[in-house]
Amino acid sequence: MKIRLLTFLLSLNLIVKGQTISVSGNWIPTVTAITTTGSDYSSSALTSAANQTLITAGGLGSLLSIKNYQISVSKTNTNWHNNLVLTARRTGTGTPSFLGLLSASGGTTAQTITNISTAFFTINVSILSLGLGNASISNIPIEYSLSGISVILPAKTYSTTITYTIVEL
């Protein structure tokens, strides 16, 4: 009876425990003031720090099989202009809780963030991660670039919220 119960609980644990994601680091780019009359902004594109946003994914892995997770990205505009193009790219691997058993792949080329959730990069977890669903990769660094900046755009504050979503593949 006890063995049955433990088996049941273990199975239930594997079923119900899910992956999690946490995101930190907003970006407030600064435009260099125009100093030459007749010119547009000196740079129509701005790039953030390489680790502007840090993503931590947890609750990963399983005793039973290799697990892959997809991180998707999208944006929800508060005030935005169609000329503004926002891209993101993954600039590092982050810190896995089990070195060599978890890795991030893809997403290292700048990808335009649209209003529709789009695959960004994947996290691969080895069958030997022994995590019981508790393996993690922390602080995966993300860099942004914003182009289309011009005096032609109405003067105001443009803002958007970038959402990262993790799903098991």
Binding site: L12, N26, G38, Q52
Partner: protein, 179 residues
């Protein structure tokens, strides 16, 4: 034992409901209003009325200068437009003469550069402040000579009887103003 199983099940389901599968970060860019205007190149323009080649003929009644270009950068909020006014801010045009200004079609730049009010075909007489370009919104002309609006200054005799020999200097000021 049943009670234990129920509690465990409840706890695990609770854990599932707490799983955070999305997170967010924000991007915020502020573009400020910009209003800059200049004339290229620096220095003065000289307009001279020439003597007639034959005694008894009138003066060369029109002198023209097209060495100056109007440059500006404008960024405005939604629903806002601007205009450029020109005026003689120092000095006076000699009696018997008229100093006129016309803007040529813009060269280079981008955005909404506005509508020419004082064009070359129908120049305005310079004096008190007058609109020469209107309905500018977000725009830039490009920098320096050869970019923006070439300015055509002309001077002509309006009354021979008032003409006197001499040199006169006038200063023309251009102002970029919100409508």
């Amino acid at each position: 034992m049943r009670k234990f199983v129920l509690i465990s099940l409840s706890t695990l389901i609770y854990l599932k409901s707490q799983a955070q599968t999305s997170g967010s970060a924000s991007v915020s860019l502020t573009l400020s209003s910009v209003a800059r205007i200049s004339i290229a190149s620096s220095g003065s323009s000289t307009l001279s009325l020439g003597s007639p080649s034959t005694a008894g003929l009138p003066l060369s009644t029109t002198a023209k200068d097209e060495t100056k270009w109007l440059n500006f950068t404008s960024a405005v909020g939604s629903g806002v437009s601007r205009r450029i006014e020109a005026s003689i801010s120092a000095g006076t045009v000699p009696n018997g003469l008229e100093l006129k200004l016309g803007l040529n079609t813009a060269v280079g730049g981008g955005g909404t550069l506005g509508t020419i009010v004082a064009n070359v075909a129908s120049p305005i007489k310079l004096g008190a402040s007058a609109i020469v370009l209107d309905n500018i919104t977000g725009a830039y002309t490009g920098v320096g000579v050869g970019n923006g609006f070439k300015l055509t200054y002309t001077i002509n005799v309006s009354n021979y009887g008032l003409l006197r020999r001499g040199t006169s200097v006038v200063q023309i000021t251009y102002t970029l103003i919100d409508n």
